[in-house]
Symmetry: C3
Subunit: 325 residues, 3 copies
């Protein structure tokens, strides 16, 4: 269940066909759909999508009832799912998501926040001046929140967390013993839209930011929430100042991400990954476990476990050093 | 007319000669000057300057009455303008600008702001806690402003705009349907000064930030205002988080600028330009229309229309890929 | 004396031996230690450490009574100091620092701040709304502080300083005529810790941020305080927006650091150094005087005086330009 966005419950197959302007070629009887999800999280009443061969594995294992795809991928769709062929998969997904979750396009001002005061019944919470807190926020024991910070409606924060000053947190679930330093902005909608000549078409971001235990998020970080899936920071990972994490990125456990590193959308980073300052990680990549990425690198390909890379584009660090001595 | 800075109206030719310590070799009678402007915006009562052959075209078309220049450019000055030869053009321009606009060197604290409340007569404005609003601010219909944001004196914001929390806007004119996300700082003076051994000499920034319609400005962006001309973001351009835009940069329409991209001063970017994450654009360049710049690129030369470039320094993307496969 | 952190005064040699689990092989009688310091600032009642041959010069001149080191460096320790051999020097230093300064691991919420008002006796201080000011803060004459800014306990700010809005300053000493622009975060603990599988071990940061006279710090800068020594910005140095400076970095006088530049920890930058946008400087380097570093460069080696470098990794700019024309 999505605690951050209200889902519409009366979405039928026919409604989706008409929204996407697709003919019901298979003469399938109308039925009710439950939700829109990624391939690997779909159940048999959900609609999902397939748009890149990178996700073939997920496709073969999915339980999704309907899969939005384009013509060239039609033959890959498993028999047990109904293919729904469109011209622009992502735009169609966006429209369907908007049908289920009409409030997730923009980050409208949270009018439900109010100044935190001692009447709020958080256990042993220490807090500064001008803290704003939304409705149904959960905060564990012995945490603290700095001055001028804003914790929006439905956010969850664990025990022993230290939230700095001027921090903004929305659409996020945060574990125990997490430090979020001053000026960090967490849970904003991702930078996702379809450019058009007249007015870009923004797509909804119904994912959350999920932060594990013992994490540190540096000053002025920006961590965007996911579009369909979540943005995730694993246990015991530490992020330095001015790091930017785009929507759907998954960072594993025990990672060390130094200053000004940037992640484009949807990349998955393993455990025990160390990334030097100002490195950039392109979108939709898989970075293995125990990988070390040198400062300033530009990573444009997936990287296997236990690799050390550096350079722009990033390559095996021995080759980089040989070529640059 | 400059709505953000008060102009002095009694500046004469002789006053400028004496300020710059220049002799009136041409025995020109004293006269009143109207303003200091760039070559292409000057009228025939204005003073302007020429300092780089990149701006030769502008020089030939200018209506400026007086043109500050150095000795080697003297012969290029059109007959209808009066050349004013100095040793350091930019320093001289700065001094003259300061004569016309004595309040534009520093961003002094705006004491005219006060807490926004329902008595302010904005039409259907939705706003958060602790919003500060300056004098003579104009805000269109159906806009919203998040918590702790500061909109300084004389700023204009259009209809249906969504300003996030912790945003600071000064010296700016913003169109309709614009989203400015949390933590963005817009309209600060540019990073412009003359280094000297004892104390750097800051120059005035009398330009504004002009933002078109349907624009999105990401979290923690910093967009500096112009020195003599304006910093401009064209209609329907979207900027991701942590983008930095220096003074006088002009970004065209329908551009997509992803996370952590930086622009040095005075570059002009065309329409439909897409720039990947962490790319940097040097100063005083012209980037054409429909240009694509790969993530992490360092652009140090102007780029013609319809090009795809990548690399540091940026080159044709086919060459970059060939050299790096 | 450290004005920002309270030091414990009863730390003995035996207490340290037992903390680090080291046997007293030399049968040295117990004695009281005064403080933990870097080699070059230690006196003869202090404990220090040696961990890298880069600091051999400091080692030969140090007055430290005890020097923590590992086995392979044992023979380098001068006769007049007592070596204390451990497996992990930095972890041991961290534990000893924590013994002397138990409050320097985290940046706990400063509960001593309160809203600045006219009863505070600062001379001719101009200030905005919602300014928070800690205990024993010193502010010189004719300074100003913008809206929502937070100046924590014991901070010192000089005369004629202009602090912007949404600024956070802690553990810092700031000279005269300094401009700190909106959104800057100064004096946060550095990104220093020992990764372990279960829970990273943070080390204390007992250093301050020391900012000279006539300095400008740009919007959204993050300047971390030092671990044992201070982070320093020299007189008349100017920093553009979104610059990141890690712990212990020393920047000389008259430097110009443009947008989005990042410094890893402990590097020393000379005087009159100019650094182009988005350049990155690795840790523990020495950059000489009058050095120019091109935009986007990745500096991984120390650079002698009067050099011009560019590239990733940075090299002599003539070579970079030759190879890239």
């Amino acid at each position: 269940m999505n605690i951050f966005f209200k889902k519409k419950n009366n979405i039928t197959f026919n409604k989706i066909l008409s929204l996407l302007n697709v003919k019901n070629e298979f003469k399938i009887k109308n039925f009710l759909l439950n939700d829109i999800k990624t391939l690997n999280s779909s159940n048999n009443k959900d609609i999902s999508f397939f748009n890149s061969s990178k996700y073939k594995n997920d496709l073969n294992k999915t339980k999704a009832k309907i899969i939005i795809c384009n013509k060239i991928h039609l033959k890959l769709i498993p028999k047990k799912s109904i293919p729904l062929v469109v011209n622009n998969v992502l735009l169609s997904v966006s429209k369907v998501t908007n049908l289920f979750y009409p409030d997730a396009i923009n980050d409208d001002l949270d009018h439900d926040v109010d100044f935190l005061n001692k009447k709020n019944n958080f256990i042993n919470l220490s807090f500064g001046k001008n803290v704003l807190i939304g409705k149904r926020v959960k905060i564990g024991k012995n945490s603290s929140i700095g001055h001028n910070s804003i914790i929006e409606t439905n956010v969850t924060i664990g025990n022993n967390c230290s939230i700095g000053s001027n921090v903004i947190i929305r659409k996020s679930i945060i574990g125990n013993n997490v430090n979020i330093l001053d000026g960090a902005i967490i849970g904003k909608k991702g930078f996702g839209f379809f450019p058009t000549r007249d007015k870009n078409y923004r797509y909804p971001h119904i994912g959350a930011v999920i932060i594990g235990n013992d994490v540190e998020i540096g000053c002025n970080n920006t961590i965007d929430r996911g579009s369909l899936s979540n943005t995730v920071i694993g246990d015991n990972s530490f992020l330095d100042n001015q790091v930017h994490i785009a929507h759907n990125v998954k960072i594993g456990k025990n990672c060390v991400i130094t200053g000004q590193v940037g992640f484009a959308g949807s990349s998955e980073i393993g455990n025990f990954v160390m990334i030097g300052g100002q490195a950039g990680i392109s979108g939709h990549l898989k970075i293995g476990n125990n990988v070390q990425i040198g400062g300033g690198s530009g990573v444009v390909k997936s990287i296997p476990n236990n690799s050390k890379v550096m350079g722009y584009p990033a390559k095996d660090i021995r080759n980089f050093l040989k070529e640059n001595k």
